[in-house]
């Protein structure tokens, strides 16, 4: 159980971060890779027991399930020999969930009165900047590494500049503003994060995000053209061969199914490809330009690896009716973590804890339920 009174407030301000002096002459750097030590069998057992207990408690256990799941994943993420810790209180998550479910039910049933529905939809849109802040505060505030917690702080107006302005601008410019939105979002989420008293920052320029989206756009376009030609050949071929075979009914059945399977696979490959490209390109851009005090990060994700992992994961999940979800989660996490490292200048011993703030899970759970996208 997290004890929020552990660190007295006075301690936070006393130790000022050492990085302004350190920047003048950087101490020799040392690279610490993130290491994931979890395995699929262990995680599967936790995952299935979570679902089982959630069902028999009619959903109440789901709050504990979330905590156990994240504790396992964080607890198996190591940096410099020390694991991360997720310290959220399940009761707080349960309270947040109950409020979120009630809010969602009210919102859903307001559809019967269109005016009310529109007003509520606008209110939710206006609440997004607040939900993002609350959600980040709760998540980071409950993440601990080497006795020091992360934290997040910002103001509604700063958040609105990203999460209200960004979507509107993307919409008005027919998507041209979207990379700008992604850049601003990443910067907002990282710049307002602290590890103890040490601030994080993202030094990537908006201009660096645009090439990624241009490549994504051109790439998608190319894939669609190739897929279209392939589909035409396959369908044409199967009709021709089906016709030639004449009355052999079983063969016709098989032949007419083949193009559907091939086109389905291409479609999955296309979706997964776009996702994998974004994960690797944006991930690398962000983490290669992020810093924690005088420390830097390094990210070496490769599109081809990401694509292979995501494609196999998707097929595995579909054909196992979801049973391989834990395996897929572990596999993808392991790859992403082993390709991320912290390049430390100086010792990791001297990071001081900051004053702790008590936060509740209402924003976090509301954000989850209304599908507010804050992922990095």
């Amino acid at each position: 159980m997290p004890d929020t009174d552990l660190v007295p407030p006075s301690n936070g301000g006393a130790d000022t971060p050492i990085y302004p002096e350190a920047r003048r002459e950087l101490p020799p750097s040392k690279q610490y890779p993130f290491v994931f030590t979890g395995n699929a069998t262990e995680y599967f057992r936790i995952w299935i027991v979570n679902i089982f207990l959630s069902i028999i408690t009619l959903g109440i256990y789901s709050a504990w399930a979330k905590v156990r799941k994240l504790r396992y994943l964080y607890g198996n993420t190591n940096l410099d020999g020390a694991a991360f810790e997720y310290t959220a209180d399940p009761i707080k998550i349960l309270k947040g969930r109950i409020i979120a479910v009630v809010a969602l039910a009210l919102f859903g049933s307001s559809q019967a009165i269109p005016v009310l529905y529109i007003i509520l939809a606008i209110l939710i849109f206006l609440a997004v900047p607040w939900l993002v802040i609350k959600s980040r505060m709760f998540n980071l505030g409950n993440t601990r590494h080497r006795n020091v917690r992360f934290s997040f702080s910002s103001t509604y107006s700063k958040s609105a500049n990203v999460f209200i302005l960004g979507p509107i601008l993307s919409y008005v410019t027919l998507g041209l503003g979207y990379p700008w939105y992604v850049a601003r979002k990443s910067k907002f989420l990282i710049d307002n994060t602290r590890y103890g008293t040490t601030p994080m920052s993202l030094n990537a320029q908006t201009g660096q995000f645009y090439p990624i989206f241009i490549i994504l756009f051109l790439g998608s376009f190319g894939v669609l053209i190739v897929a279209g030609i392939l589909a035409a050949i396959l369908i044409g071929g199967s009709i021709f061969m089906g016709g030639a075979k004449g009355a052999a009914a079983t063969n016709i059945g098989l032949l007419s199914i083949l193009p559907i399977i091939v086109i389905g696979l291409i479609y999955i490959l296309f979706l997964v490809g776009a996702r994998s490209y974004m994960q690797s390109a944006i991930g690398n851009l962000i983490w290669n330009n992020a810093s924690l005090g005088e420390h830097r990060f390094q990210s070496t994700l490769k599109f081809v690896d990401m694509l292979r992992i995501n494609f196999v994961n998707t097929l595995a999940i579909v054909f196992s009716f979801g049973l391989l979800i834990p395996w897929a989660t572990v596999r993808s996490l392991r790859y992403r973590l082993q390709n991320t490292s912290l390049v430390a200048h100086g010792s990791l011993d001297d990071i001081a804890a900051a004053e702790e703030k008590n936060s509740n899970a209402v924003g976090e759970e509301l954000g989850d339920f209304f599908n507010v996208d804050i992922g990095l």
Partner: protein, 357 residues
């Protein structure tokens, strides 16, 4: 008798770590390895509960902390001091493959029962309990949407419309409802000859279907089938069922983010096929009884159904037609409309049933 536990010690508010050895001496926990040895009453130390083999933290009254991976020894100490928490049982469940298999079997059974029995039963109960006015409000948008996308105004003359309306009055005549089912005429355009039941309690009939029918008795057959959908609240039930199934699947697959959408589509699609067949049978039963009640020869249903079916393959041969018509079906599903020709796998069976005279 206890071997010491290796741990990392952190002073309050610091990330600097030091290796220490913990040992238990009766009710006292000893810390060795710092400048001066520390002792705490074991019962004052807050020890996080066990989860697999992830490191556990020990929080001491002075605000300092230890982290250790020696979970087994910690568990032994907790047992010795009688300080075990309820999480021990959860850890036990999580640590044996046998329990996992039982949990898995139970989950598969519960999900299957929830999807095949729970969701349809609940949806039926809810749909029957809800006042018709609520149903009508929920489905208000459907006709407007369909009008925008597929239909144009009916081109039938007034006399013909009156004649069909009179036929439909006979369908309505002995219905036990607080609100009469409404009939509207539209020109089908892309949809062609068809009739639809909307959640708002409205039946739409296309000009093409009116033209296709050889007599009013055939129209009676089709329209009473659609009225059957409405009398049994099928559009609302279908929508409720789909939402519940989506909720069940989303809850379980919440880990897998967007990937799960693909996996979730499969059971939902299979289930849809099953439900729509049940709904069709219920609506056919309704039409059957209506026709017997109004003394309309059953053969009329079979006749118009087989004529409609003949029309379908023609359309599917023309490649351009295939795609839009498929889309039509999906969109109508989304909007909650039950359409006369979609997803009727065993049309021949249905025809046979009405070929008894």
């Amino acid at each position: 008798m206890n071997h010491p536990v290796n741990a990392w010690h952190y002073a309050k508010g610091s990330s600097r770590r030091q290796t220490v050895q913990l040992s238990l001496d009766g009710p006292t926990l000893l810390l060795d390895g710092l400048d001066a040895p520390l002792t705490f009453a074991f019962n004052d130390v807050r020890i996080s509960d066990r989860l697999s083999n992830t490191p556990r933290s020990l929080e001491f009254p002075d605000g300092s902390r230890c982290e250790t991976v020696d979970n087994d020894t910690l568990d032994k100490w907790l047992a010795e001091r009688g300080a075990q928490s309820g999480y021990r049982l959860i850890h036990k469940l999580e640590s044996r493959m046998g329990y996992a298999v039982i949990a898995l079997l139970f989950t598969v059974g519960a999900v299957w029962a929830g999807i095949t029995i729970g969701a349809p039963t609940l949806a039926k109960l809810a749909a029957e309990k809800l006042p018709t006015s609520v149903e009508a409000t929920l489905g208000k948008q459907t006709l407007a949407t369909l009008d925008k996308v597929y239909f144009s105004p009916s081109k039938l003359d007034e006399a013909k419309q009156k004649e069909v309306s009179a036929t439909f009055d006979r369908v309505n005549s002995s219905l036990q409802r607080d609100k009469k089912i409404e009939l509207v005429f539209r020109h089908g355009d892309k949809i062609g000859a068809n009739a639809l039941a909307l959640p708002s309690g409205t039946v739409v009939v296309t000009d093409e279907l009116v033209d296709l029918a050889k007599n009013q008795e055939e129209l009676f057959a089709v329209l009473s089938h659609e009225a059957g959908h409405i009398a049994h609240h099928h559009p609302l039930r279908g929508w409720l069922q789909d939402s519940m199934v989506a909720l069940i699947v989303a809850t379980i697959a919440s880990d897998a983010s967007s990937l799960s959408v693909l996996a979730a589509g499969l059971p939902t699609a299979l289930l849809n096929a099953k439900h729509s067949r049940e709904f069709e049978t219920e609506a056919d039963d309704f039409a059957y009884n209506k026709m017997v009640e109004q003394k309309i020869p059953l053969r009329n249903f079979a006749n118009i159904l087989s004529r409609l079916q003949e029309g379908v393959p023609d359309k599917k041969d023309a490649k351009d037609e295939t795609k839009p018509s498929k889309k039509t079906d999906n969109n109508q599903k989304d909007s909650g409309a039950m359409d006369f020709l979609s997803s009727h796998p065993a049309t021949t069976e249905r025809i046979k049933r009405f070929q008894v005279d």
